[in-house]
Amino acid sequence: MTWIAQNLWLIPVLPLAAAGVIAVNKQRQRKLAATLAIGSMAMAFLLSLCAFSATLLHRGDNGVFREVAGFNWLQFGGQWLHLDWVLDPLTAIMLVMVSFVSLLIFIFSVGYMAHDENFMRFFCFLSLFAAAMLGVVIANSLLLFFVCWELVGLTSYLLIGFWYHKPSAAAAAKKAFITTRIGDLGLLLGMVWLYAETGTLNFYANGSGCLEQSALAAMVTHMTAAGMAVSTAIGLLIFLGAVGKSGQLPLHVWLPDAMEGPTPVSALIHAATMVAAGVFLVARVYPLMSVHIEGAAAATTALTVVTWIGALTAIFAASIAVAQTDIKRILAYSTVSQLGYMMLGLGVGGVSVGMFHLITHAFFKALLFLGSGSVIHGCYEEQDIRKMGGLKKFMPVTFATYAIGMLALSGFPLFFSGFWSKDEILHAAHGWPVSHIPFYLGCAGALLTAFYMTRQVALVFFGSYRSSRREEAHSSPHAAHIKSEPPHVGSYEGNAVPRESPAVMTIPLIVLAVFAILLGFIGTPAWPWFDGFLNGEPAQFNFAKLTEGGTLSLMLASAVIVFTGLGLGWWLYGKRQRKTAEEPDVLQVAQPTLFRLLENKYFVDEFYETTVIRFNAWAAHGSDFLDRWIWGGAVLLVTWVTLGLSWLYRFTDDFVVNLGFDAGCETLREGGGEMSRWQNGRVQTYLRVIGVALVVLVLILMWGRKS
């Protein structure tokens, strides 16, 4: 057991401690907050590197390197609940990715949030998020995983609603929380079922874990009432959690709205790490998803579902992105689409294919989001790409890095990471035995991806600057200053020309851009190091692989697709630049109905509004009616009866019992008072009475004698 596997818990605990310390400090100590958050993240990153090198050193000893450590958490009945963490290549690569991207985004945030008064709160939440996310990554117990998963959801909620005074942000936070909760219900059910079936929630535990051979073999032969293997049913339930978290098709609606949060949050949580947690979950429970009876078809039901959902999401979200105008919303739909690709990759090609795209995507999407943050920051909080344009000359660093990110996302051949990872997915999809449709969907998605990214870059960085603010500023220098001073731009003195962001923001961009290029080369078909790393096999350097089995023709095909998309985008948006911000989109002129459909995101929100939400509202109204009138009425009736009875009791008590008693008491008291006058303490009075009584007695006796 290596020391790093023993102490893997330090990686999430460091940011957690930082979050705690920041939370209890005063609001003004910005430096302390930033130092703590970045420092703890840097430490976590170093430890992650140690973990990564440990997995590298022990690679290929016997199969996949995997070490488990943990502690007993609590006892129930005769059993102990173990919370374990695991160090294997999957964990290690995710740890490095998450901590590194987090570190860069933390640094970027120092610049981006510099003027926000809730700077401390932001870093507290961000650190908490990083802690939870790293916890998700190292978890070896589905329970620990679930706890961290929910924490991640909570911090996502807190950070989307960071500017909670904006009603749209508050609503988006609520939407994200509730939508992911629907998926989490599935995950919870799957978890409980898994525990019921296997009696353990630990993934790996020397042969007794729930992802190991004996448990899987038991689950795959055990059938549910619906004729489905238990492993498939549990796998699908767990996948439901991933669908919610990763914004897959039926539950994707929250992710674009989540862009209401600050841009670093969008980059960190809603592009690079948290939404990838769903993909990571599927990768983690991949043995459960892929287990099948000997001799049956290789593609299991669970993986088929994953594939279809992924492919549909990829094309669906990509087509919506074409018609959006908000710079972050385009990226959000792009994220949804890319997550669909990852699911597709997991479904058709296995862990390494999906995970490779996850890792490369994390870097270039974080780059794109941070770049968009830099653009928004530079354009005085403008997010509408129609009102940008020509930023190339105002923000050269941002433009260069953004272009790299865009080319990587589009899958520009050979030199960018996105090409290699996406190509691997398409290649796997092409070889999928069940159906070829996911492959075609993926290709179409790739085309759309290249197209919408070109559109965005053309509108943002090329042409001329179209903001109305500029004209205002030029016509009357004071008007803009008075009219619309953005909340935290101090140097906005009537000068509306966009400006480059400070170094604290551009340096993370450059670092990410470098990785967006380089990362592709760890997973090319010629040198499948990444695949080998995850599966515990040494990678062979073999150029011949490039030409084998149709790889080359597929690469050519995907290159053609990408070039078509890029060319189409440039032809429609780059060559002929729009002159004003109000001008209708080129596509809108050509295909008004289709454009309207895409612009409104296929009316999914409206569809949910009229079906699920309306039904829910009805149910709520019904429950309210029942509560108010039926149950409430019954309660009220009982209250009234009780009130009446108590009134009756009071009446009897007051006027019957008490009155009689009172009267008796009064009489006695008065009698006593009367009598007490006789006892005045004077002996002679008593004697006098005796004397008079004697006289009276004598008179009576004499009277009696006479008669």
Binding site: S676, Q679, N680, G681, R682, V683, Q684, L687, R688, G691
Partner: protein, 103 residues
Amino acid sequence: MTPLQGCLLVSALLFAIGLAGAVTRRNAILALVGIELMLNAANLNFIAFWRYGPNPEALSGMMVVIFSIAIAAAEAAVGLALIIAIYRHYRTVNLDEIKNLKG
């Protein structure tokens, strides 16, 4: 008038005088003197009914009166002791001022 009637008349007179003294006197000692008078009137009645009764040879009347006188002496002692105790307590023997016998 028979001798018995004369005796009873005297004793009644004596009793009335004693009662009046006991009731009207403010001084406790004089009230006690009144009570002694009433007691002696009763003793006189005993003697008169015995002397003029059907059997004057038996000394029963004399016996009762001697007992009664002895008891009266003891009672007078107790009465005087009470008066002394009251005097020590209240610094007075005026019966109008001694009203603490009421509840």
